[in-house]
């Protein structure tokens, strides 16, 4: 009966091996972006720069590019040349950030408006067709009325691309058959999008017609209670 004692230390091996399992490499003493920190009072590991800091590339010398204003007036020109790439980018960004409220055609009847947000004006009014480009840019940058500002979500160059796209949208929605190249037939019905919408977002699921009527009745009474 000598051998079992001899092998007793072997039994300890798995225990020792398990004791070696630590999470030090998994959880290193560094912060992932926006991680919680117990060191600072506001629990943020991401620190705000000191007031007045101007990081490289953030000195906004070109005031028109960042405000849409020349002096106190709105400018009516694009700060960079517009080509097909700019318009495509503008369309994509418009469909991501603006279409939830303004809708993809810009009539101000987007999904969020249908859910109770105050309806924005349609782009296809005389006032907004004549609005200077800098005005559109300024509304995105500083917000207007119920609309919050989008300066943090959309970089300035993309905001200008959206401005260009909105103008293109206004032109297209007010176009007549005279604007089309001769011989091209102008469709009289709105286009039907097949598959994915242009931004690549997932299209909202529409409820079947019969149940949609029922549920819309139910949701409107719910909203009535909400407003009390």
């Amino acid at each position: 009966m000598r051998s079992p004692r001899k092998f007793l230390p072997l039994l300890l091996l798995p225990v020792l091996a398990l004791a070696g399992c630590r999470q030090d490499m998994h959880d290193q003493p560094r912060f992932k972006p926006l991680a919680k920190s117990d060191f600072y009072g506001d629990l943020r590991s991401a620190r705000q720069p000191v007031d007045g800091t101007v990081a490289r590339g953030q000195l906004h010398e070109d005031t028109y590019f960042y405000t849409g204003k020349v002096g106190n007036l709105f400018g009516d020109y694009m700060p960079f040349p517009v080509n097909q790439d700019v318009l495509t980018r503008g369309q994509q960004r418009f469909n991501i950030y603006c279409a939830p409220c303004h809708s993809r055609v810009g009539d101000g009847n987007g999904m969020i408006v249908q859910r109770g947000f105050r309806a924005p004006p349609s782009y296809h009014t005389d006032r907004l067709r004549k609005a200077p480009l800098g005005y559109l840019f300024n509304v995105m940058t500083d917000g207007f009325g119920a609309m919050p500002d989008y300066a943090a979500q959309i970089p300035a160059h993309d905001r200008w691309a959206i401005v260009a796209y909105i103008r293109a949208l206004q032109l297209s929605q007010a176009a007549t058959s005279a604007d089309a190249p001769s011989g091209q037939k102008v469709p009289s019905e709105p286009p039907v999008f097949q598959g994915d919408p242009p931004s690549g977002a997932t299209a909202p699921e529409l409820a079947p017609q019969a149940s949609a009527e029922q549920s819309s009745g139910a949701s409107s009474t719910n909203q009535g209670e909400e407003h009390k």
Binding site: M25, I96, P148, D196
Partner: protein, 231 residues
Amino acid sequence: MQIFHRSSNTISKATIFAVIIVASVALWACIQLQRSPYVTYAGVARPQPVPFSHQHHVAGLGIDCRYCHTSVENSHFAGIPPTKTCMNCHSQIWVGAPLLEPVRESYRTGKSLVWNRVNDLPDFVYFDHSIHISKGVGCNTCHGPVDRMPLMYNFASLQMEWCLDCHRAPDKYLRPRDQVFYMRYEQPTSAKPVEVDGTKYTDQRELGKYLIHKHNLRTPTDITSCSTCHR
């Protein structure tokens, strides 16, 4: 005199095999445990300060991923939206809802909402969202059907073998760039081909090979090298 009963012959023979069987079953159980949601948390919704529903915001309202996760295309980090992004809509919608009180409190006081990270890679992995987006890896390839997740959970195990599955053969998963944020994207079949640059693809491998060439993907040898993900 006989020391051992005659059944000892059978028992000793059986024991030799039993040890092997028991040991391999134990090993198999350990491996399965390591890959199970008990360890990886795959499919397990975490508690959050607000029960935010991706299903409602993505499938119900059609809001693009990038509306909130603004830095996903040009940063390694997709970005957790600041409370202000929530208030873009919720300043007027569901203004009295008790569930949203933590959001409004955060907006009033300027204190951050403390969300619990769901897709948490080990700290020795240096993952970058932007490169995956620009090479054509769809959001839901890794994050799963986010548009059908009332509460967020991680879809994949996030273990290395799962990463390598794609890094060894990216053509199994790549999709056209304009479909990356589309949650209902389906890989091409002969019934539903996917069209890229004027060519209709009916086979994922062919489409993948074309996209690898188009987007200049590095070779599997390069992207399975240790230092691709570990520094």
